[in-house]
Amino acid sequence: MNKDGLNNKKKVSLFKRSMSINIGLILVLIMLVPAIFPQFISTHSYTEVSFEEMLQPPSSEHLFGTDNYGRDIFSRVVWSTRIDLTIGVLATIVPFITGCLLGLIAGYYGGWIDDTLMRILDIFMALPFMVLVIAIVAILGPGVRNLYIAIWIVGWKYYARLVRSEVLLIKNSEFIQAAKVLGYSNSRILLRHVLPNTLSSSIVFAASDVVMCMLTGASLSFLGLGVQPPIPEWGSIISDGRAFISSAWWVTVFPGIALIILGSGFSLIGDGLSDILRTKGR
């Protein structure tokens, strides 16, 4: 039947349209390999100090060279992938869920619930993201766990605001009325009818937020507030290499490249998703 022909056509155009997703996915998948199997890929131990091999340029023995303690940069970059990826994803998902639920409740019920939540949100909005994260980590003390907590406390606001504004639109739409007419309960209408219609912009934002969180994690580690040595993290490796950047460029450049690859991967996925969701919404 020509029905199938139509479907085929659609699949082709979807594939074409999401070219940036495909590239993004490839980049992320490449970075997933060292994140999952660092022990098979790394050539040295990431903590092994060797004072005979300090600040050596890239060679067949040390693919990315060594740092000022003679540690193998390649192995350190490989081992950092896991922790950076985890920070990026986890520090996005938890605020995403929190923010979406709060935005949903605020938008749908309105009234004092909405007012209270939105005023709290305004307080968080008034302060820059990075400043607040650094302040919270400084109060709680450096470390990965506190880094998560800080990003969680600061990160939910975007999702709450995005979802809330969509809910305000959706809750007055005819099909929510229709759902009420069919006698559905409030929670059912909220979760099944309102929520899916509000998520698309948040999902797009989340994809780019992964990059943001990863960079935040790297920045804080750079400042010495995030991942603590001797555990390697891109930000802290870059920070270590900062002093020798004119004589030993490889210490900062390679973790930087890794950060760029993973970051662009997620950004491209975010772009592609926003394209697809925008056209689907029409």
């Binding site: 309105g110 005819e174 099909f175 229709a178 069919l182 006698g183 309960s185 009818h193």
Partner: protein, 330 residues
């Protein structure tokens, strides 16, 4: 015949920041079992608000301020929100003006129809089978395939049919149809109206049809209420309303539409605009536009008087109107 719905002195107001818009100002009517009751009037006369008030779907800043809505002996306005959900869907169903926006764009048609089955014992495939059956009833063939499609893959008329299928699933006894055909083109309009008529018999429902289209009313309704500025001006059975209307507004409406067999004469529109409902006039709301008006009309609102059995009109000068002819000859 038994009354299925009795609306008494219904008042619905919308509370703005500076003013209160009185959209429905004491509307009363009955709907009997198995009949199609029409509610007609121009835009903004409160007919849709009346319809939505019955299901208590009035949104902020609107509020039902008075009256009672008695469905099968129970006043719906006294029920809790939870009890009300029991009535929505199962007892009273509603179809909307815009089928495009009345279906959830992110769920498939099948998911939306299946969701309407409240019986928890049905399995997913049972529900799907039944959904296909209902799609067939509303005139959508190859239901199995259609179930997997999204609303944007449906045409306007198809969406209205799918919406009806979802509403019919719980077999309501009263169907509220809020301008169900306004956004559809004429041929589809005809099909949907015939479908409503057929379903009405098949499911032994009563129908409240809200419309501004006199043609639709003529084709569908048993009895009709004419609304103007939040009040009912005339209630009559369909033949009486078109044959011997007894209210200047209804007469004006009859003269303002073209009909087959008319001599090539000009149409007579009703001049002027409806009154501002945030500040409704003390007297008859139709007075500024009425060609029969006298001094009393400005000062006193006429009562809804019974002219003959089942024919009510709200006018001071009923005797003046006795020789007026309607659209059809009786």
């Amino acid at each position: 015949m038994n009354k299925i719905l009795e609306v008494k002195n219904l008042e619905t107001n919308f509370f703005g920041k500076t003013e209160v818009v009185k959209a429905v100002r004491g509307v009363s009517f009955n709907i009997y079992e198995g009949e199609t009751f029409g509610l007609i009037g121009e835009s903004g006369c409160g007919k849709s608000v009346t319809c939505r008030s019955i299901l208590r779907l009035i949104r902020d800043p609107g509020k039902i301020s008075g009256g009672s809505i008695i469905y099968k002996g129970r006043n719906l306005l006294e029920l809790s929100e939870k009890e009300m959900t029991e009535y929505r869907g199962k007892e009273i169903g509603m179809i909307f003006q815009e089928p495009m926006s009345a279906l959830n764009p992110v769920l498939t048609i099948g998911e939306q129809i299946c969701e309407a089955f409240k019986d928890k014992e049905l399995t997913k495939s049972d529900k799907e089978e039944k959904a296909i059956e209902f799609l067939k009833i509303v005139g959508i063939p190859s239901g199995r395939q259609r179930l997997k499609e999204y609303p944007h893959q449906f045409s306007g008329g198809m969406k209205q049919r799918a919406m009806m299928a979802a509403v019919l699933v719980s077999k309501p006894k009263l169907l509220l149809a809020d301008e169900p055909t306004t956004s559809l083109d004429v041929t589809i309009q005809d099909q949907i109206l015939k479908l409503i008529n057929r379903l009405k018999k098949e499911f032994s429902m009563s129908v409240l049809l809200v419309t501004h289209d006199l043609g639709v009313v003529a084709e569908m309704c048993d009895r009709v209420a004419v609304m103007y500025a939040g009040k009912i001006m005339e209630i009559a059975d369909i033949l009486t309303l078109f044959g011997e209307p007894r209210h200047p507004y209804t007469i004006g409406l009859s003269k303002s539409i073209p009909y087959r067999g008319a001599q090539s004469e000009r149409l007579h529109p009703i001049k002027g605009n409806p009154p501002d409902l945030s500040n409704p006039p003390k007297g008859c709301p139709f007075e500024p536009r009425c060609i029969y008006k006298e001094k009393i009309c400005e000062e006193m609102l006429p009562e809804l008087k019974e002219i003959k059995k089942g024919h009510f009109s709200r006018c001071h000068f009923l005797e003046k109107l006795e020789n007026e002819k309607g659209l059809i000859k009786l």
